[in-house]
Symmetry: C2
Subunit: 197 residues, 2 copies
């Protein structure tokens, strides 16, 4: 068939969407090329017309996740001043909804322990995504006139990522909720974001 000029691009996009979901939910190793293609409504054969290898797919899919995440960040915080925006982002990040949406949430937490085992290219894309998030949060902290915005932003991201990952592991629902609540509380206190402070 001779499809319209950007049919291939759209297909690639669909494959990336499918891969991005599956990789976060099942892990890069457990996701097969054939399953991703099927999820995108295709068979496995055409795969290599879009990507040179599975590694390349994983790298591209992780880049895709970070783009989504960036958009979500903007959506969650736009039009808000630094203080309200930061508060909203922490609220979102440590929500039960985010915890329960492994396949669509923040790639940093979903893949933190997988990444050291992937290729250098993949790590590069991921690390850049982390740096971007740190930079966005550092800017907010700077606007809040915090003493060490850069260092505090790194520390904040570490706690967000760690808390989400741990909440996802705890099988006991109450305890899992408590992990999220504890970090939310401590972070709000730390950055002076309590309900009306």
């Amino acid at each position: 068939m001779r499809y319209d000029s950007d049919h291939k691009r759209k297909t690639r996009e669909r494959v990336l969407d499918a891969a991005a979901g599956a990789i976060r939910a099942a892990g890069p190793e457990r996701v097969g090329v054939a399953a991703v293609m099927a999820e995108a409504g295709l068979t496995h054969g055409g795969f290599y017309a879009h990507f040179a290898s599975k590694d390349e797919l994983v790298t591209a899919a992780i880049g895709h996740m970070f783009e989504e995440a960036r958009e979500r960040f903007v959506r969650e915080t736009q039009g808000l001043d630094a203080r309200t925006g930061l508060r909203a982002y922490i609220e979102f990040y440590l929500s039960k909804k985010h915890r329960d949406a492994r396949g669509s949430g923040c790639p940093i937490a979903a893949l933190s322990s997988d990444l050291p085992r992937l290729t250098d290219e993949t790590r590069g894309v991921y690390a850049e995504g982390v740096r971007h998030l740190v930079a966005r949060l550092a800017k907010m902290l700077e606007e809040l006139e915090r003493p060490e915005p850069e260092s505090e932003a790194r520390s904040l991201v570490a706690e967000l990522v760690g808390a989400l990952a741990l909440a996802r592991v705890e099988p006991d629902a109450k305890r899992s909720d408590a992990i999220l609540a504890a970090s939310k509380r401590q972070l709000q206190r730390r950055f002076g974001l309590a309900s009306r402070a």
Copy 2:
């Protein structure tokens, strides 16, 4: 052969040691039964005399890692008062040495994003290990007369785990060091552990 009465137990221990290292370094999916047995100086055939399945090995190996970690915790903090002990543990956890020792370091950080994908049994063992660490740290914070030892301990563990995981992903050595340093600094400040405060 009729080996001495606890030869089998010792062998099992060797297999667990090998598995514990490989699983942290390469991930539970990338570690094969044959490779673990070879690492322990055996061939793959005898494996099922020790474990009913690979899943069972993974569960046992993770339990093994937490035992080691518990011993390490005691070693790092024994004889120290709560304040010095807490400081020492944070120092150890966020050290470059710990970052670079993925195969032998804290299982929580090494496997955080793998765990949600493993079996319920495995998650149970891991979650219990996390709870134990939180409890030990909460006790220290209680001795320090912190206002909310439980909540602060959860938050502390989240930040430790997140920072270590992120430091391991960052390919740029300086930036990776900065991630560790930022969390160390912020945690010391938060818990009043600065050099002499």
